[in-house]
Subunit: 357 residues, 2 copies
């Protein structure tokens, strides 16, 4: 039996979007391929509220996160972490020989604008990475307040991980001043995994041109120049199947309307949070709770593993806590094309299993 | 109208394989995902005649080529090139700050065992890269003779690019002593692009453990350790759609039988070569002509562009020459699930368009 996925990626993909994954192949150096890639870019620019160029990468989001910190750091990177995916960004810098410092917040807490101010004011850094939405804890960082600080330092390249938020909440790249905004297909955009996406500012590209040893596959300069010089084509053969599906799904997203889509995510989040507060507790402070994923503190001491096994029999899957938070928390993702009704059904099933009246 | 692809990737994908791309999602940390990935690995070990471990990467083959030269070179890499994809391997080394020398053969010629002997006997190198099948020229290197030389140097890691040959001809990894054998989904394996594959020897892994700054996404040690320690799972979310299709396609390949599949490729190649010799000339020496792709010397001075446009109207696509060889050559790929009948139909269409009696 297929389990409806309420996990933070891979997510439940709509049947018609899945069907687009079966589109017959075309040559990746054909005009049809250029058109496909340009159409996708144009729609993604709307989704990210940006005039910056869009790059696609056949990889997970991690690939572009690595490319960003590697290609655009000359001096030192300030890596802010509110969980596992922030820590990973630091590991990426170090494993590439990039000088980087890790600024960690407690699990469940945010990166504060004050922390960012304190770090950047030292003048030690020329790149900053921020996690917008941390799926290991269910926390969404106050990106507007953070960006107000970052914009005071025009020599700092601003990299934002929106892997699990883009498509589920408004991210105004140009207004926020984000230089490299990264996401991935298998989260709130509602597609299978296999494609990563970023927007990139011209100043980030120009900065990267001055950095040595940027590598090949995730060299953002090569990706950018190939898109620009070769009519939206790519240095290597891209994941065309995912691109056919992405193009189609972006049409669906635009038909739903961005504001409607963001509101739907908020409604699902608010319903799930209310349920969590009534029966358990929210893990993060409510004002920083994610709109795509709710992390619930397991105050009843239930066996999350057993709960998920029972849910599995009914055709649902949620996520246990991440890493050290296993069994201490559990996670319900409500993103992409799931509806409020889907969420209500899931929570009713949990109520039934746990005999919550 | 869909064009049947006789280009060297993306290739024509069978309808039932395409349908598997639409398989609904599962969690990538689930037991089902582990099983899927282990099943794929077991079958790929048979296809590569190896007991070495298999790693999958959500990228094009270029990603693993970069990972191999970056992770396993401590001293200096000897990069042998018979065309664009060999040159690319050198570029990958240099762009990662890896010391490497490029040994180029003339377009249409092979890497000779003597060239390899001369380079390795200097003692300067601890890694060698060889292109098995070069799609820019249609040349297949004499990999057995080359491997006889490489095996005399037990401290040299042997990397082989079989991106456009694996699945179309026998590559006996263990017998040849290949440490890292790399391929990609969208060539002779008969799948859409989006997944790269390599086999890796334990000594290559152990060597890589001693190399610094291996990066993150293409760190072969991290990929290997995650596969080993986490029951065939991956550090990042993999391209599950392509894995469902790959698992299915490997069953189809085993049902056809490896020898039958390799013979089918040889038959298509021999038919195409005979046609080319009758009407044009072969670009490479016949003994080194690829079994997955025939490069034809344009001795009639036809317009390849016009020919391809006419073919397009009839539902076929071939490839013009690569780079400088454009219009001077053209390329007919005959790989994956294409049949001798498909090839006959295509060549008859070309005969008709060119009024070749």
């Amino acid at each position: 039996m297929h389990k409806k996925l309420f996990i933070p990626g891979p997510i439940e993909v709509s049947e018609d979007v899945l069907q687009k994954m079966s589109t017959p192949m075309i040559g990746h150096r054909s005009k049809d391929a250029s058109k496909l890639q340009k159409d996708i870019s144009d729609k993604l620019k709307k989704l990210f509220y940006t005039e910056n160029e869009v790059l696609l990468s056949t990889s997970s989001g991690s690939g572009l996160m690595e490319g960003a910190v590697r290609c655009c750091t000359k001096k030192r990177a300030a890596v802010f972490s509110i969980g596992s995916f922030g820590d990973r960004w630091h590991e990426m810098a170090i494993s590439n020989g990039i000088e980087a410092d890790l600024f960690k917040s407690e699990p469940g807490s945010v990166t504060t604008p004050e922390m960012v101010e304190e770090a950047l004011s030292t003048g030690n850094y020329d790149l900053i990475t921020i996690t917008h939405n941390e799926t290991s804890t269910g926390v969404m960082n106050p990106v507007e307040e953070i960006s107000n600080v970052v914009r005071k330092y025009p020599d700092v390249i601003f990299c934002l991980d929106t892997v699990s938020s883009a498509g589920g909440t408004k991210i105004e790249v140009d207004k926020l001043g984000v230089d490299i905004c990264i996401t991935s297909s298998q989260k709130a955009l509602g597609l299978p995994p296999g494609l990563a996406i970023c927007t990139i500012s011209e100043r980030a590209v120009e900065k990267a041109r001055t950095v040595k040893n940027r590598g090949f596959y995730f060299d953002l300069v090569q990706l950018y120049d190939t898109v620009k010089d070769k009519d939206y084509q790519y240095p290597s053969t891209p994941n065309l199947s995912a691109m056919f599906a992405l193009d189609y799904q972006l049409n669906r997203i635009m038909e739903e309307g961005l504001e409607n889509r963001f509101n739907r995510h908020l409604e699902m989040a608010e319903y799930t949070r209310a349920w969590a507060k009534k029966n358990f507790e929210l893990f993060p402070e409510e004002q920083y709770a994610s709109v795509t994923l709710t992390t619930v503190k397991n105050t009843r001491g239930i066996s999350v593993k057993d709960l998920n096994a029972e849910l599995g029999k009914r055709g649902y899957a949620i996520s246990n806590g991440y890493g050290n938070l296993k069994e201490k928390t559990f996670r319900i993702a409500h993103m992409a094309d799931l509806t409020l009704n889907d969420v209500k059904e899931l929570l009713a099933a949990i109520d039934d299993i746990l005999s919550i009246s």
